[in-house]
């Protein structure tokens, strides 16, 4: 419309339009992620609280440590490792579990909360696209939480190790056995690999599905996230008397263990063999990532249409 007046060159109005001050996309993304961290403080408070509890419990358990160490020295290396590394594995698993729960609840609220409190009208009045907003929200479970989990776990395990060393040295025992059996230098890369491969890449379709539901549902996002999944499994069972969908879901939730590590072993176990080649070439990973991208694209589109509820 009004093409004549639009093409008049050299008007001051036009000059302003064609030369806007520019903010790089990365900066908009940075501040969008920052705002998620401001809003959802549970992202870092929950894992830190779990880490604090673990350290508190561990501190009490160090009373028994010298006795445990003496007992361990009599065992073969395999059993020694199992005995000494157990609290460290447990710490990592507990922090990981906490951040997974945080990620699920974060995703379900991410695109719902801003519509519920009407702040979407404020966010949309700023020059930030729906794509940037949705990607910044997706980056919390896919990038921020795995890296945060890694950092908090490493620090927690370091403190545990320092506490143990202090107690052992205080009771005249050597730290060497503990150090060799823990082999943190192998454990930590393994942990990082597990977090990125499983919690970020393998779980991506789960988190993106939850984001999509939070963009779509008017209320009870939690219910809407689960109901369609249950419905599909139910219809499949009744119609064909098969459970492929449920099995597929189970495999996804279980972390796709066969694609990542030797089944049945702890992710931090140095005996575990990493199989990144196998993982990266598995169909399950790529199908999941395609699904995640489809869910995200749908969430971006929905946010464009959605206003306050």
């Amino acid at each position: 419309m009004n093409t004549q007046s639009n093409t008049v060159p050299g008007t001051p109005l036009e000059a302003q339009v064609t030369a806007p001050a520019v903010i790089p996309a990365t900066r908009r993304m940075y501040w969008s992620v920052q705002r998620e961290l401001w809003e959802s403080r549970s992202i870092y408070i929950a894992p830190l609280a779990v880490a604090g509890l673990i350290l508190f419990g561990f501190l009490i358990s160090t009373i028994r440590l010298p006795g445990k160490m003496r007992a361990a020295l009599a065992l073969d290396p395999m059993a020694q490792h199992k005995l000494l590394a157990q609290p460290y594995d447990f710490a990592a698993l507990a922090i990981m579990g906490a951040t997974f729960v945080v990620a699920v609840f974060y995703c379900l609220d991410a695109l719902h909360g801003e519509r519920r409190d009407r702040s979407i009208l404020f966010w949309k009045s700023l020059p930030v696209s729906d794509l940037t907003t949705v990607l910044s929200k997706a980056s919390i479970p896919l990038v921020v939480l795995p890296l945060l989990t890694f950092a908090i776990t490493v620090v927690t395990q370091w403190i545990m190790l320092l506490l143990s060393a202090a107690v052992l040295l205080g009771s005249g025992l050597s730290v060497a056995t503990l150090w060799t059996q823990l082999s943190l230098s192998e454990m930590w890369p393994m942990l990082l690999y597990h977090l990125l491969a499983v919690h970020s890449l393998w779980y991506a379709p789960i988190f993106c599905w939850l984001l999509l539901v939070s963009a779509w549902a008017r209320r009870a996002a939690f219910l809407w996230a689960g109901l369609p999944v249950l419905a599909i499994a139910l219809v499949e069972k009744i119609a064909f008397n098969t459970t492929h969908f449920a099995a597929m879901l189970g495999n996804r939730m279980g972390g796709g263990a066969e694609a990542v590590t030797v089944p049945g072993s702890s992710p931090m176990d140095p005996m575990t063999h990493l199989t990144p080649g196998h993982f990266l070439s598995s169909a399950g990973l790529w199908i999941g990532l395609v699904l995640a991208a489809v869910f995200l694209a749908a969430a971006v589109r929905l946010r464009r249409y959605q206003g306050p509820i």
């Binding site: 001050a21 404020f122 206003g307």
Partner: protein
């Protein structure tokens, strides 16, 4: 140069028609009051202009298509909605950081300057502020943005008289200049009447009145008529008649001032009275332009 130009703008929610072929043109440097009863389509019109809702028909805002270019458009457009929409969890300093981070035209020092005149503390969370303070905060953020178009949707709803007056005073004194355009949608006509350069009435999704204030003043006149002269006055075909103490007040469109002066005291009607007169003349179905 038109700041906003719409032709045949239409929007329906199911069977409810919110915008029924709206044509409007808002020039740069104007302060337009978009006035209508609840449910007339004010908010829908603003949402279309802001790119918050898809629509049928043609719409250009600052030469952009708002629906497909919302994020670019928002560099030049600011918006304050009917109720406080600032996130309640946010601290004042966080909002300043965020807007400075994403908005290329935000002048943080200017926003801090506006806030310094209020009692709002930088460490407060939005949820701790009173409704009036939240509006002050939002206004401080918006006035620090060098935008070309500011849209306000019932911005002072629920505020006490001091905040309402202060709100429009700040806008006029600290913000408005001839390069900016302001559109205020409201149904509280009285408090904005003196700041407007243009006025539009919207009823059931249609623009039923669209005049500049310069046009309104000579054209529409109100006469206070004593009962004995009522018949003579009615013969001049008033738009609207209402009863007042000691006689009737008749509102005329385009009748010579001298002729009216013979009938009683002549004055320029308030926008509120004009609004009532225009709305009273609307036919039952949403057909009528004036």
């Amino acid at each position: 140069m038109a700041c906003i130009e719409a032709r045949g703008l239409r929007k329906a929610f199911g069977a409810t028609v919110a915008l029924d072929g709206v044509n409007l043109r808002v020039e740069e440097g104007r302060i337009l009051g978009l006035i209508g009863p609840n449910g007339a389509g004010k908010t829908t019109a603003l949402n279309a202009i802001l790119g918050l809702t898809p629509y049928q028909g043609e719409l250009k805002v600052l030469e952009r298509d708002p629906w497909s270019e919302r994020d670019q458009l928002m560099r030049d457009v600011c918006f304050i909605a009917d109720v406080a929409v600032l996130p309640r969890w946010a601290r004042v300093s966080q909002l300043l950081d965020y807007v400075a981070g994403v908005h290329p035209r935000f002048d943080r020092a200017r926003a801090e300057g506006f806030l310094a005149k209020t009692t709002i503390r930088r460490t407060s969370r939005v949820r701790e502020l009173s409704k009036g303070m939240v509006t002050q905060l939002h206004l401080a953020l918006v006035m620090a943005i060098d935008a070309r178009l500011l849209l306000l949707d019932e911005p002072t709803l629920g505020l006490d008289i001091l905040y309402r007056k202060q709100f429009y005073d700040s806008l006029l004194n600290d913000y408005f200049d001839r390069n900016r355009t302001i559109v205020v949608a409201t149904h509280q006509v009285e408090e904005i009447e003196h700041v407007l350069t243009d006025v539009m009435f919207i009823d059931r999704g249609r623009i039923v009145f669209d005049r500049s204030m310069e046009e309104v003043e000579p054209r529409y006149l109100e006469v206070m008529v004593r009962p004995e002269q009522a018949a003579a006055a009615r013969a001049l075909k008033p738009m609207h008649e209402r009863q007042a103490i000691g006689g009737s007040v008749l509102l005329f469109d385009g009748v010579d001032r001298q002729r009216l002066a013979a009938l009683g005291d002549v004055r320029t009607p308030s926008i509120a009275d004009l609004f009532v007169a225009v709305m009273g003349n609307q036919p039952g179905q949403a057909q009528g332009a004036l």
